[in-house]
Symmetry: D2
Subunit: 294 residues, 4 copies
C-alpha cells in the first residue's frame, strides 16, 4: 500500500480518492474547498493544510484539476509544487488538459527526477464512484506498471496510449469522436422520427446495423428510448455539455498545433457552443438532441 | 417454394437472386444486361425477355434497381409494370430510393391490390453473396410475415421499420449516421497520429471506450489497422464512396421534405463530393481518411 | 403597350402587376385569392375568372408563384396552361423555382411555339413596390429584348444570365452566397462584440475593408447599427428566414444534380432550419444573428 | 520627423519601413536576416546590431513579426525589449497576433510608461509597397493621434477599433469574414458554372446583386474573370492560404476565449487546412476555388 497525496477533490476527484482509501492506501488530501477535505478526513484520509503539506512525505501524488491553467499554475514555476515533490516519486496527473500542457509538466518533472504519467479518465462521475473509470495513460511503460495498482483501485480499463502527452491526445481524439457520434445519432433520430419512424424502433435498427455506436448502446439521446439514460431524466446527470465543449476546445487546440483538419469535430464544437448560449451547458451532453427537435 | 420474378441483376441483385435459387425458389430473371441474365440462366433460372415477361405468372416480384428514377420508370405510369403484376402478388422493392418515391409506388400498388414492401438492404456485395444482408422493411406487418422466408434466403437481420416508406427512411438514417461516424473516426485517427499516437493503439482505445462504433469494430479507415478492411487493400472493394454520396443525397432530400436540420449529415455529403471531385468515387467510402492525411 | 396576363398576385406579384398597370399596359389578372384580384381590378386591371380566362387574347403572360410544384402544376400536363397560350406569345416565368423545373417548362413552351424566359427576381417586397427589382433571366437573347420594356416597368437591373434555366441558376447562386455572407457577418459581429468591440465601429471597419459585402452596406444584422434595417425593427419586414431556407434548399437540389460540393451553402441551410425549429421562420433572415447572441 | 526603430523586415515589414524612410523619418532597423537590414541600410536606414541596439535612443518603435510567440518572446520576460524602451516612447505593434497576447504586452508596456498600440494591417504585400495598408488600431485614442502621421506614411485607412487588443479583434473578425466570403464565392461560382453559366456573367450578376462583396469587386477566385487577380496568375502572389489559415486559427483562439459559436469560420479553417494538406499553402488564398473544381 502506498502513501498517496491526492490534490483536487471535485466531482471526479472526491470519489476517486475515496476508492483509493477503500483499497487501503494511506491518503493525504487537499482541495481549495475545505468541505471536500473534511468529508474525506471523516472517512480516514489525512487532511492537508495546503498542496505543499499534502505532498510532503508521499511517494505518489495524484492531481485532478479542472483545466490546463490550474495544472500549470499548481505544478510549474519557481514556487510550483514540482519543486516540493521528492525525486523518485510518481506523479499521476489525471486532469483533462492540453497535450502541450501535459508535455511541459512532463519535461520539468523529468528534470527533477519525478516519474510522471498523464492519465486523463473517461467514465464520468458514475464511473468515478463505481471505480470503473478508463485511464488513458501517456509516459514510460515502466512508470505505468508501478502505477497500475493505484489506477486499478479507481478504474477498470487502463490503456497505455504512448509517450509523454499521449494519454491526453487519446482522450481528446476519443471525446471528439464521441461528440460527433452523439450529434450524428441525434440528427438521424430526429430525421427518422420526423419522417414517421418510432424512435425506439429506429434506435434498435441502427444499433444493430452499420450505424451502431456507443451512444446507441448506452446513451440514446431521445427521451424514453433508454429509461436510465440522461435523455429520459430531462438530461440531468451524466456528462455536462459544457465539459464536452471544453474537450472539443482541447481537440481544436491540439489540431491547431498539428494543422490537422477536423471538419466534423470543429462543427461539433460550434454546435455545443450554440447549446451553451441557450443556457443548456449544465445539462447532459445528449441534450444536443433538442437542437433538432424543438 | 415461390415463383419469383427478379428484376435488376447488378452487383447486388445478381448474388441476391442466386441465393433465392439456392434456397429452391423458381426464378424468372431480367436485366438490361443480357450477360447477367445468361449467368443466372446457366444456374437454373428462367430467363425473361423483358420485365413484363418476367412478372407473368409470378406471385412474388423482387426489384433491385439503382435509383428512384429507375424504380418509378419501371413500375409507374400508364405502361408501368404495376399494371402487369397480378393482384394479390407480393412486390419486394429492395432498391435504395427516396422514401417519397417508395410511397408513390406503394400507393399505386395498393390501388391495384398488390402487397408491397419497401425493403432496402445494407451489408454490401459481400453480404449479398453470403446471404447475410440486413433488410429494413416498410409496409404492412402481415405482408412482411409472408415475405420473411424470401428475405431470409438473402439476409440475416430483417427489421420491420414501420409503415409504407419506413424501410427507406431507416436506411437513410442509418447510412447518414454511418457516414458521419466514418468521417469522425477518420478525423480522430488523423489527429491522434499527427500528435504521435500509434494508429493501432488509438483505434483500440477508442473502440473500447465511448468513441466505440461499427467502423472501429469492422472497418477501420487507417491502412494496416485491420488487414481485411478496404483501407488495407488500397480502399478497393467494400462500399463505394459514390454510393455513400448517393445515400447522403437521399438523406438530404428526405430532410428537405421534413425541414429537418442535419448539419453533420450535410457536411458529410459535401466532403464525399470533394472526394468524388478528386476521382476517388469508386474507392471504398473509408477512403475519406485520405482527405485528412495526404 | 402590351396585353399582359398576370397570374399570381401574392406579396411579390401584386406590386409587380401594379407597376405594369402604372406603366400603361393592359392587364388581365388572376390569383386564387379573390381579394388580390379585386384590389387590382379597382386600379384598372381586368379581373379573370381563372388562369385560362386570363391568358385568352394576351400576347404576354407573367407568372409569379410560390414554388416548382405550383409552376409545373399550372403550366404542364394535358390540361396545363401552356396548351391555352397562343403560339408566338411571350411567357415570363418570374417564380423562384428549381432550374430543372424551369427547363421542363421551357421545353414544352418551345414545342408549342411560345417564347419563354425564366426570370426570377431579387429585391424583396420593397423592391417589388418601388419597381427596382433585379431580374436574372434565362432563355433566348432575342426574347429578352422583346421582354425588356416589361421587365423595366418592374425592375432596374435586368441581367441575361444565359440559356434556358440560367436565370434560376444565377438566382440560386446569388442567394446562397447572400446567406453565407449574412451568417458570416453575424458570426464576426458576435465574435467582435463578445471581445469588447463596439458593433457600429466593427461594422464600419469591415465594411470598408476586405470583409466588405452587401450585408454590411445595406442590411447589418446587429440591432441598432442601421436604423432602417430589419435588425433594428425586431427583424420584421424584409426577406423571411423561411424563404431563405427555401432558396438554400433549391441550391442544394441544384448541387445534387451536378454533384457540386458546397460546404458553406449546405451549412447555411442547416442553420436556417435550426432557426425555423425555433419559430423564427417568419422573421427577416438577418435574425440568424440571434443564434450567436442569445 | 521621428526617430523610429523598426524591427521585423519580412515581406510586409521591409516595404513598410521603406515607406517610413521615404517620408523622411530617421530609421534604425533590425531583422534576424542580415540581407534585409543591409537592403534598407543602402537606402538610408541605420542598421542595428540587435533589437536592443535598434530601440536605443528612439522615441517610436514599430514591430512587425510573424506570430504571438515571436512578439511575446521579443518584448516580454526579464530580458524582454520592453525593459529597454524608454518610458514615454510609443510602441506600434503591427504584427497579427492573438488579442490576448496583445493585451499581455499592453499591460507590461503600460506598467513601464510606454504608450502602446496594437495595430495589425490588412492589404497584403501590395498594399505595404504602395503605402495603402489599412491599420486596425487598439489602445488609447490619444496615442493613436500621436501615431497617426507614422501610420499615414504606410497606409491609407486608419481605424480606431477600441481599447487595448481591439485592433487584433477587428482584424480577426474581418479576416474570418473575408475567408467565409471567399469560400462562399468560390462555391457559388463552381455551382453556377457546373450548371451552365458563364463565369464572368455569373460573377457580374452577383457583384451587382445582394451577393456582392469585396471578393467579387477585386479578387474573383475563378481564373480569367479578373486578369489581374491571383486566380488568373495560377494563384501566385496575393495573400497566402497558409496565412489565411493562421488568421482563422487566431479567430478560433479568440472564439474559444469568449465561447463564441462561429460555424462558418470554423468550417473555413478546416477547409483551408485541407488545402494545406494538398500542398497549396503557399498559393494565394483564392486557390480554395480548386477544392470545388478539380
Amino acid at each position: 500500500m502506498s502513501k498517496i497525496a491526492f490534490i483536487g477533490l471535485g466531482h471526479m476527484g472526491l470519489p476517486m480518492a475515496r476508492n483509493l482509501l477503500k483499497a487501503g492506501h494511506a491518503l493525504k488530501v487537499y482541495d481549495l474547498m475545505q468541505a471536500a477535505v473534511d468529508e474525506l478526513a471523516a472517512e480516514g484520509a489525512l487532511p492537508a493544510r495546503d498542496a505543499r503539506d499534502a505532498v510532503a512525505g508521499c511517494e505518489v501524488v495524484v492531481t485532478m484539476l479542472p483545466a490546463s491553467r490550474h495544472v500549470e499554475g499548481l505544478l510549474l514555476g519557481d514556487d510550483g509544487l514540482l519543486a516540493e515533490i521528492a525525486a523518485g516519486s510518481l506523479l499521476l496527473e489525471c486532469s483533462t488538459i492540453a497535450p502541450e500542457s501535459a508535455r511541459k509538466v512532463h519535461a520539468v518533472a523529468k528534470a527533477r527526477g519525478i516519474e510522471m504519467l498523464d492519465a486523463p479518465v473517461s467514465g464520468g462521475t458514475a464511473g468515478a464512484a463505481a471505480g470503473t473509470l478508463t485511464f488513458m495513460v501517456g509516459g514510460q511503460a515502466a512508470a505505468l506498471e508501478k502505477a497500475r495498482p493505484i489506477f486499478q483501485a479507481m478504474g477498470k480499463n487502463i490503456f497505455h496510449a504512448g509517450p509523454d502527452g499521449a494519454g491526453q491526445v487519446a482522450k481528446v481524439c476519443n471525446n471528439q469522436l464521441l461528440a460527433v457520434q452523439m450529434i450524428g445519432t441525434a440528427e438521424s433520430m430526429a430525421l427518422g422520427v420526423a419522417n414517421g419512424l418510432d424512435p425506439a424502433v429506429l434506435a434498435e435498427i441502427m444499433r444493430q446495423s452499420s450505424g451502431g455506436n456507443w451512444v446507441l448502446e448506452r446513451y440514446n439521446p431521445w427521451p424514453g428510448v433508454m429509461p436510465n439514460a440522461p435523455a429520459s431524466k430531462e438530461y440531468e446527470g451524466g456528462f455536462m455539455a459544457e465539459l464536452m465543449a471544453k474537450d472539443l476546445g482541447l481537440a481544436q487546440e491540439t489540431a491547431q498545433g498539428s494543422l490537422s483538419s477536423t471538419p466534423m469535430g470543429a462543427l461539433a464544437l460550434q454546435l455545443y457552443r450554440l447549446l451553451l448560449k441557450q443556457g443548456k451547458g449544465r445539462k447532459d451532453f445528449s441534450v444536443v438532441q433538442k437542437l433538432f427537435t424543438e
